[in-house]
């Protein structure tokens, strides 16, 4: 078949020229620091380190608009696996928690979506709408041993919140023999069969934790050396290493900063201290009281760590004026030294 030819006209030439201009690349260069001549990657890194050096390693501010970093690591994210073809159903799975603390049951969820027109790869999840499906799951250890199975339902009963919303739910109780001494990762092989007879599957998972310490309940706050120190009582049942992290927020929930600590502890009652570096309150510009918006304890004796359930809104501090807190940068020596090495002048260290 011959394609009809059209003679070039001035308008066509103009359009062709415009198209050619559009096809030309924008001259692009690596960003450079024009004053020192130092390449940006080194200079950028040094700038980042110098800025970060205002704070110690164990306590930092949360950037404006950023998520509570302690809570963010405990919020499970749905994950999907596209089907083989662009119009294949997309299966998405997630669990109620990143980690379930024994003896809690495990709640699992799944949806099956039909990609929209021209959808599939590269499209937003669930763009074409939910698809009814028969969904089942097999719970498997990291070694591949099956410990149980579940059927997901969308009937509004039990763990399923609403019938017919396309979110299928299942509750699984880990057999006693499968409960780990500390923590274990479990995979969930999920298979969905749609009414059209299509089968899709993916692998989900969850952590099951049997932590060796628990929060004791008492939390105190005080200003010490210009920093806000939270003393948190911890009851240890079995010796090991324990990690505590918390995010302090304004009363309206806006995160201000986080702090963490870790220690080797023997059985008994102990106090762990979270020291929120005072400069973060000055930088944030909002006086107390503050909320301990999230508090996470974990047993980190070995991998995988055992995560206690996240405690939200764990404590409310006294009303501290900003003047109670230090306005001096910490001067983190490790970061400052790293910055100096990166942009050392010729003849000095690093060249």
């Amino acid at each position: 078949m011959t394609t009809p030819k059209t003679p070039l006209r001035p308008l066509h030439l103009l359009l062709a020229f415009a198209a050619a201009v559009l096809l030309l690349p924008v001259p692009a260069v690596l960003a450079q620091d024009d004053a020192s001549g130092v390449r940006t990657l080194a200079q950028h890194t040094a700038d980042v380190y110098r800025q970060a050096a205002r704070y110690p390693n164990d306590s930092r501010p949360v950037e404006a608009g950023a998520l509570d970093p302690v809570r963010a690591e405990r919020v499970p994210a749905p994950h999907s696996l596209p089907g083989r073809n662009a119009d294949s159903p997309l299966i998405t799975v997630w669990s109620r928690e990143v980690s379930f603390e024994a003896p809690a049951p495990v709640d699992l969820y799944a949806t099956v979506d039909r990609p929209g027109q021209g959808g599939g790869k590269g499209q937003s999840q669930g763009q074409g709408g939910k698809v009814a499906a028969a969904i089942s799951g097999e719970v498997i250890t990291a070694d591949g041993e099956t410990v149980g199975s579940v059927v997901y339902n969308d009937d509004g009963k039990g763990v399923d919140r609403r019938a017919g919303d396309g979110i299928y739910s299942a509750r699984f109780t880990l057999p006693q023999g499968a409960v780990p001494d500390l923590a274990a990762s479990f995979g969930v092989r999920v298979t969905a069969k749609t009414a059209d007879g299509e089968t899709v599957g993916t692998t989900g998972g969850f952590l099951y934790s049997n932590p060796h310490a628990h929060l004791g309940g008492e939390i105190r706050d005080e200003v010490r050396d210009g920093n806000l120190v939270m003393s948190v009582e911890v009851t240890v049942e079995k010796a090991g290493r324990f990690h505590l992290a918390g995010t302090l927020a304004e009363m309206n929930g806006t995160p201000v900063g986080w702090a963490q600590t870790a220690a080797e502890l023997e059985p008994g009652t102990h106090t762990l201290e979270l020291s929120f570096y005072g400069l973060m309150f000055r930088d944030h510009g909002v006086a107390g009281p503050y909320r301990l918006a999230s508090l996470s304890l974990s047993t980190t004796t070995s991998m995988p760590n055992a995560l206690n359930d996240l405690v939200e809104d764990a404590h409310r501090t006294a009303a501290y004026p900003l003047s109670a807190f230090t306005d001096r940068g910490f001067g983190n020596p490790g970061l400052l030294q790293a910055a100096d090495r990166l942009v050392a002048a010729p003849g000095k260290a690093g060249h």
Partner: protein, 341 residues
């Protein structure tokens, strides 16, 4: 000659000119020693054989290390670890940490290559990590402080963090790979990763799934040293169909660029997460995207288009280029690294 081909040649010439100018304009700055950390393996070869670890970075006459070091102008050290073990184990993260410290002490790698200056002599060290090397470095750099959850878990993480200047990851599997989801427990036999390193659900693959319980972010703090992110968007037939958004045939963009939220969110060069939306609250920074697949990006075999991404490193007329702008027409990631120092 068509207008398109004329445009392409112009494109090519400009790209080469820019690259040459960038090379000629090199200022006198600290010359780093490069430490190379490979990705996942289906056997222990790179752990037991130096030549296997070294050849990981080679394809025919092309050699990532030769190119990135500007024909060995910079010194280098090649790490070999057990790429079949989970990223956090002693033969993976522990081995990598020990080797990095050895490199900074001036010890030669298995091929006799040592950093030109030790840390004590004022040397600086950049880590280049591919694929699973990403979460390995995340685990090390996120557990370097005594307040971190897994401080010095099985190696000298604190020494590593104090001695290296930065890390650059090439298609790092920071959030795992959907390929691992497909392969593990044969959950989706339609997704073919038969030719890829995740062809079986070994222990390393299990810990590279998208589920939060195996993600490095669950067991680490923010990295103590900046981690710069570049990755590929050239598909691999069969495998890429099972990956969300842009991908390099093995790892999807949400993982390559260490995005927060879902590890399987669909991203491309226009909308991949910026520096404020990473898996940790700080420490991860975007560089750019390359039209290379997961293998190409580590062996300099495909000198192809590069594109700006949100918060990327390239500037156009003095301002950051718009995301998805073609910034280079024929530059491999090895060449890209060579103009960063």
């Amino acid at each position: 000659m068509t207008l398109r081909s004329l445009g392409y040649l112009r494109h090519l010439a400009l790209g080469l000119a820019v690259a040459a100018a960038a090379l000629l304009a090199l200022p006198a700055v600290a010359q780093p020693c490069f430490i190379f950390v490979h990705g996942k393996q289906t056997n222990t070869n790179t752990y037991t054989s130096y030549s296997a670890a070294r050849n990981y970075w080679v394809s025919g006459s092309r050699d990532f290390i030769q190119t990135a070091t500007r024909n060995y102008t910079a010194s280098y050290y090649v790490v070999g670890y057990n790429g079949t073990r989970p990223y956090w184990e002693s033969q993976s993260a522990g081995e990598v940490a020990n080797e990095i410290v050895a490199a900074t002490n001036g010890t030669a790698d298995g091929g006799g290559h040592a950093c030109a200056k030790t840390y004590a002599q004022g040397g600086t060290f950049w880590v280049i990590a591919h694929s699973m090397g990403g979460p390995v470095m995340d685990f090390i750099l996120g557990n370097n402080d005594s307040s971190d959850p897994n401080y010095n878990y099985n190696g000298p993480y604190s020494t590593v963090a104090s001695r290296i200047s930065l890390a650059i990851t090439l298609s790092g599997a920071h959030r795992g790979s959907e390929g691992a989801d497909a392969v593990c427990f044969q959950s989706n036999p339609f997704c073919s990763f038969i030719a890829q390193f995740i062809q079986s659900c070994d222990d390393a693959t299990y810990w590279l799934r998208s589920s939060d319980d195996v993600q490095v972010k669950t067991y680490s703090n923010a990295p103590a040293r900046s981690v710069y992110l570049t990755g590929g968007y050239e598909a691999i037939f069969g495998a890429s169909a099972c990956l969300s958004g842009e991908d390099d045939g093995v790892v999807q963009y949400a993982s390559i660029y260490a995005c927060n939220g879902s590890a399987t969110a669909s991203y491309d060069n226009s909308n991949v997460c910026g520096n404020s939306s990473k898996q940790e609250s700080s420490g991860f920074f975007n560089l750019d995207g390359a039209h290379e697949n997961h293998d190409d990006i580590r062996n300099d075999s495909d000198r192809d288009t590069r594109r700006q991404i949100p918060d990327g490193i390239w500037t156009c007329s003095g301002s950051p280029c718009s995301p998805n702008t073609v910034v280079q027409s024929s530059m491999s990631s090895a060449q890209f690294v060579s103009i960063l120092w």
